[in-house]
């Protein structure tokens, strides 16, 4: 049994046929070929699949595509403006906050939401807030640095 699911992804209206059990992450990767969003686990713990749904970070493996019907979804592909990176992407690059790049899309999406939700950030808060995102490469050191560096830029206080 399939039916049509429509939503806005990275500012574009999209629709695709999918099964009731299709996850949002599958919809993005398989139906829309937006392969920047990754699948790192099957227990909703790694955060490689984080996207924004109506402005809030969501693990797209924990949500059915149908549940996102009519929503405004932003993925890692929707952040940069041409060659100009989003300040969080730029901070990750500047601070070497990525190695293999697999956790990176989810990390960046979570980090942007974190900054949006906090007027101020310190190391302890960043580390705590990152609990839902796993990285096996960087030891988190530079990811924390990058988020702390992006915060004032995004807030316009840099």
């Amino acid at each position: 049994m399939t039916s049509t699911v429509s939503m806005t992804v990275n500012g574009k209206q999209v629709s695709a046929e999918c099964e009731g059990r299709t996850l949002l992450v599958q919809y993005l990767r398989e139906k829309l070929a937006l392969t920047g969003t990754h699948v790192g686990c099957d227990t909703s713990q790694c955060g490689a699949c984080v996207v924004h749904v109506d402005g809030i970070s969501v693990k797209s493996c924990t949500m059915l595509a149908h549940q996102a019907e009519g929503c405004d979804v932003v993925t890692i592909e929707g952040l940069a403006d041409g060659d100009t990176l989003h300040p969080m992407q730029e901070a990750f690059r500047e601070n070497h906050a990525l190695q293999c790049g697999f956790c990176t899309p989810g990390m960046v999406m979570s980090a942007i939401d974190m900054v949006n939700r906090h007027d101020t950030l310190d190391e302890k808060t960043v580390r705590h807030q990152l609990e839902g995102n796993l990285c096996r490469c960087t030891g988190y050191h530079n990811i924390v640095k990058a988020i702390l560096a992006a915060h004032p830029v995004m807030k316009g206080t840099a």
Partner: protein, 792 residues
Amino acid sequence: MPEGGIGASVKRKEDFRFLTGRGAYTDDEVRAGQLHAHMLRSPHGHAALGSVDTSKAEAAPGVVCVLTGPDADADGLGGLPCGWGITSKDGTPMVEPKWPVIAQGKVRYVGEIVATVIAETAEQAADAAELVEVDYRPLDAAAVTETAHRDGAAQIHEEAPNNLCFDWDFPGEEAAEAVDAAFEAAAHTARLELVNQRIIPHSMEPRAAVAEYDKGEEKLTLYCTAQAAHAMRLLLGAFVLNQPEHKFRVVAPDVGGGFGSKVAPYAEYAIICWASRKLERPVRWLGQRTECFVTDAHGRDHVTEVELALDAEGKFTGLRVNTVANMGAYLSAFAPLIPTFLYATLFAGQYTTPAISCNVKAVFTNTSPVDALRGAGRPEATYLLERVIDEAARATGIDPVEIRKRNFIAADAFPYQTPVALLYDSGSYERALDIALEKSDWNGFAARRSASEADGKLRGIGIAAPIEATGAAPSAIAGQLGARAGLYESAQVRFNATGTVTVFAGTHNHGQGHETTFAQLVTDKLGVPLENVEVVEGDTDRAVMGMGTYGSRSLSVGGSAIDRAMDKIIDKGKKIASHLLEASVDDIEFDSGTFTVSGTDRTISIGEVAFAAYVPHNYPLEELEPGLDEQAFFDPVNFNFPFASYVCEVEVDPETGSVSVERFTAVDDVGNIVNPMIVEGQVHGGLAHGIGQALMEGAVFDENGQPLTGSLMDYTLPRADTVPSFDLDHTVTPCPMNPLGAKGVGEIGAIGAPPAVVNAVVDALRSHGVNHIDMPVTSESVWQALQSAKAS
């Protein structure tokens, strides 16, 4: 000279694609007409395998075929090969049972494949797999490392009595006698029994593969999550699939971390290649995380007794090690190498211990196969050594810093021949330790401890001084020690006609930043701007040959191959320049991208020379071929030996047993550094990996071989809030064994962190009578240790 040469922390060339969702990982490869494979896996640790009835599954919607062990036999598939042979102390070769790609007759670990369903969609394949009827008769299992070789343990392979794979003595009888003598004469001895627990690699990208067979060309293409594409091609093609090397292309595209677990050829890859060849359609497989938990090759899993003999001054005089190493149910590609030559050869550490001997018994168990994992053998060696040294410090009453300093190999003693085969290249151990002590404010520790105590907490500080043998090579030595492959690296450096450069390298980048670091080598030596250099890796049809990336070898071996190829480019460029500048070739000098007739201002750029090489209108065609494209193989004469000094400080809550790492100082020496930013990142990652092993990670099986830590719900990985920020520094002692002076950096953090952390924890608990605690040091184990110390 353009910017971005050796020594510059340039930002990575590969980052733009990863940061914008443009990375191209294996599972992103989509093929028209592709089929999906689902692996049906054994739920038993040990069981006789009766009939596998696939009829219902075959009739299910979308199913194209179901493959079983007998099908693999009928089609002539070989078993998964092992790349290293070890000889037991009695001269017999190790026991090497066949590892069929799909189980036959018996299943020997949870997760072993019993059938593969191929269907039009992944969901259909998974649904149909539930319809396969498998007749299992559960058998007693041998799943515990320590007891698997004892009499009475269930036997896993017919050809391996007592589940013994090999029983290995090193370096030999004479050394064992020297060690015995050292213990007889010892003024002090220290002894520990310790477990280096099994850990799961958990690269964030699950293993995946896509196979496509082109019948017209008789050519098989495999995209897969691999660290060594050429080795994968050789091992799968020659041993399993009987697919000729020239008709087999393996591509390892962007790979989301490896840590050693993506080197070995895996059954799933062989099966989908075989299926694609059979069905003439592309076939893909994506590992679910829970599958990867039981089928990615695990790491470590040693049970060890270590003894250290010391003279009255605290000088180490002898070291004796007895280890049981768990191989898992079958021999993964490099499994036998890890608890032997990557392990016992490191027992000297940074010290002058004159007599060392060991025995290693490798056992089969009903658990997932074990192979290389970040450090592979060297973490196990460093852990036992740095732990027993702290125990010796306690036994002798000598300070842990002082006892290490009394035993360090002196900076002027290099090259240094250890009693365990290796010839160390260079080092300056005391200097690194002094810097680490200074940076960690070692002297201020007492005050911090008092402050913690006032807060009801225990505080401890620990040191580890790891050494590592990296740059896997040299081929000749490796061959003598049992390697079944060469261990050189190859590279091709190609000038394009318009002056840009493409480097084809046999290594593979799965996070290490090769696209940037290798380009920096070219910028530095040939003067070509960084943006005009492209590095190509991980494709057997593009890179000439290669052994891949593992064992922290890429820069020192692969980078050196690039350097050699560039030497050839310069040599040829000089000949072309001498023609164009009408001077003798002996008078041509090259520097920073420019050829000059020495002593004159007559110059020509390497870009112009490249253009002339490809548009040879004015060119010495009688003497010289056109083109500027050179290839080199580099096979170093020795390993290289990075080293470090780490200081870890922990706080323990005696009420709950919880441990927090408060400070971690790391001073590494990895020889010459090309990109300091990338090198620091490698150290950070390694340290977090090591802290993970020390404090939280551990794969647990019950006595039937059932994994009890089969998902992220039960297996704890380090998270941002369970590791600290790191305080890093480095010294530079160049490696004399390669033209770059570089040593490896990818693993040292994971090697040195576990003993540093555990030494700190034991230091914190010492006042309560605890002298050893096994990893992972969880709040539960600390609490238990405190309670039992109290009770005794």
